[in-house]
């Protein structure tokens, strides 16, 4: 199993997101006042500054906005992954998330911009939190 770095919690802005991940929920926020979609999680709206936000659960579907495949990483947690992908995924609810595309044999050739993907919660070797990643659908 992978051994990705875990979030360091508690942390005021991101506690609720990772609590959701433990329940297989990909959470995002919308502003009660101006309807802006807010991500990554915060206690205020990035468009109007309102502190009145509603946390919602994404369907977890979206498309690959862009990606890269890391061929050389000095980070010890990624040493055993081989070439691994990183990607910005545009979720259907209108937020963009940094993640990784998994479930392809060769990430250097099989990942495409615009490709539809769906979230899954990847179990880790160590740590309390699975990590949300995306798989082509």
């Amino acid at each position: 199993m992978p051994n990705r770095p875990q979030p360091a919690l508690p942390e005021h802005d991101t506690d609720a997101f990772w609590e959701g991940v433990q329940k297989n929920e990909l959470r995002y926020q919308t502003c009660n006042e101006c309807k802006e979609v807010v991500f990554t999680p915060r206690a205020h709206c990035t468009k109007c500054g309102s502190g009145k936000l509603t946390t919602k659960v994404s369907k977890g579907t979206g498309t690959v906005y862009t990606y890269s495949v890391v061929r050389q990483s000095r980070h010890p947690n990624f040493a055993d992954l081989g070439a691994y992908s990183v990607a910005y995924v545009d979720l259907d609810e209108g937020f963009r998330m940094l993640s990784s595309i998994v479930g392809v044999n060769d990430p250097t050739t099989e990942i495409k911009i615009g490709m539809p993907v769906k979230v899954e919660f990847e179990k880790q070797d160590t740590g309390d939190y699975p990590i949300p990643v995306f798989r082509p659908v």
Partner: protein, 396 residues
């Protein structure tokens, strides 16, 4: 250009000559560079009344620590730290402070030992967790290079840009580096495989570090430092060398946004401010010193600064003639850049140094009669949170 103001000018410059130097500390590099730049200007240690410091140098305390180390008591201290473009921001602030009458002799300095300390700047993995952003990024292991590579992939997708086109930036920059003895020594000291001119094929056959960026599209990790002295107009008219006037500046930030365009940088916001203040158009610029952390950084910034339209940088760099001895109008990164001369982590000060050398006629790849230059720093991560600092410079 009759209406352009001449409030402040670069009057003294110094670049640390060695890129691997175990004999000095980063703070020593800063202090010695400041003295050498003051000598270049014909100014004295005690003339300095303003310090701009990005907190490099490992000395602690930011501008306060530097003032104490130098033994100076400046009345303007600016500790803006916005990544590699900090020095363009510093030049902008020095212009502003001098124009406001708050300072007469401003010092910018840099010192870093990234090569000696073997810091894996590009491949060390992403930010640690524990912060609002780190907790959302650390699990994915996005190396610094991969962040820029994601911009390149999207640029290629949207505009048909190719790696072969981007490689033209590496080729021209190496051409300039081979004429710069300090850059040649840097590549030798850093054990480059092949300290020579390179071709597009060489770039394409170098290994991929993060798709689609190849090794020869990535800047080096070196030691390095330097200093820039910026003085008021009345001081500048009596210094040893011809002043290099700061005509205008612009600052901006950008970051990941829902639905945002990753192929457009903060430069799209900072450049029009700078060109507007300078009353200069991109078409008049002779020398572009653009932060070349990677080829894609240059491509995106050339577009955002208005040298070509969005999406056309691939064609621009591969056909317009960006080397100093090609007939093209715009000449790029004549010192050899971060790709082939030095990149100690935050390269912004070198963009000012080489632009000043060009406008004085002192470059090792001199463009005859160069009159206008732009120094554009991109700090932080091009595909994430970053800054753009644009400075327009003119020969006396």
């Amino acid at each position: 250009m009759a209406n352009q103001r001449r409030d402040a000018a670069i009057v003294g410059i110094y670049e640390w000559p060695k890129r691997v130097d175990a004999s000095v500390s980063a703070m020593q590099m800063k202090a010695a560079s400041i003295r050498a730049a003051l000598d270049d200007a014909g100014l004295k240690w005690g003339d300095v009344d303003a310090i701009y410091d990005a907190g490099d140098g490992d000395g602690g305390g930011g501008g306060l620590g530097l003032a104490a180390y130098l033994g100076l008591k400046p009345t303007v201290i600016d500790t803006s730290q916005v990544g590699g473009s900090s020095y363009e921001f510093h030049a902008a602030h020095a212009l502003r402070d001098i124009a406001a009458g708050k300072a007469k002799v401003a010092v910018l300095s840099y010192g870093s030992k990234s090569a000696t300390r073997r810091v894996p700047i590009g491949t060390g993995g992403g930010a640690g967790g524990g912060t609002w952003s780190g907790n959302m990024e650390a699990p994915y292991g996005t190396t610094l290079i991969a962040n820029y590579a994601m911009v390149a992939n999207r640029h290629m997708h949207d505009y048909g840009t190719t790696s072969e086109q981007l490689a033209a930036i590496s080729v021209a920059t190496r051409h300039h580096a081979m004429r710069n003895p300090e850059a040649v020594q840097a590549m030798k000291d850093l054990q480059f495989v092949g300290v020579n001119e390179i071709t597009v094929d060489d770039v394409m056959s170098s290994r991929v570090i993060a798709d689609p960026l190849h090794l020869l599209e990535c800047c080096m990790v070196s030691d390095g430092g330097g200093a820039v002295i910026i003085a008021s107009g009345d001081v500048a008219r009596n210094t040893k060398k011809k002043p290099v006037w700061i005509l205008g500046s612009g600052e901006a930030t950008k970051y990941r946004e829902n639905g945002g365009d990753i192929t457009t940088s903060a430069g799209a916001q900072s450049a029009p401010i700078a060109f507007g203040e300078a009353q200069v158009s991109p078409g008049e610029i002779d020398i572009a010193m653009i932060y070349d952390s990677f080829t894609i950084t240059v491509a995106v910034c050339l577009e955002d600064l208005g040298f070509c339209k969005k999406g056309e940088a691939g064609a621009f760099v591969s056909t317009s003639g960006i080397a100093f001895d090609e007939p093209g109008k715009l000449t790029l990164n004549t010192d050899g850049g971060g790709l082939s001369s030095n990149h100690p982590g935050m390269r912004g000060i070198f963009l000012l140094l080489e632009a000043a050398r060009q406008l004085r006629g002192e470059s090792t790849s001199q463009v005859p009669g160069a009159k206008l230059a732009v120094s554009h720093g991109n700090g932080g991560l091009l595909g994430g949170t970053h800054t753009g600092g644009t400075v327009i410079l003119a020969a006396d």
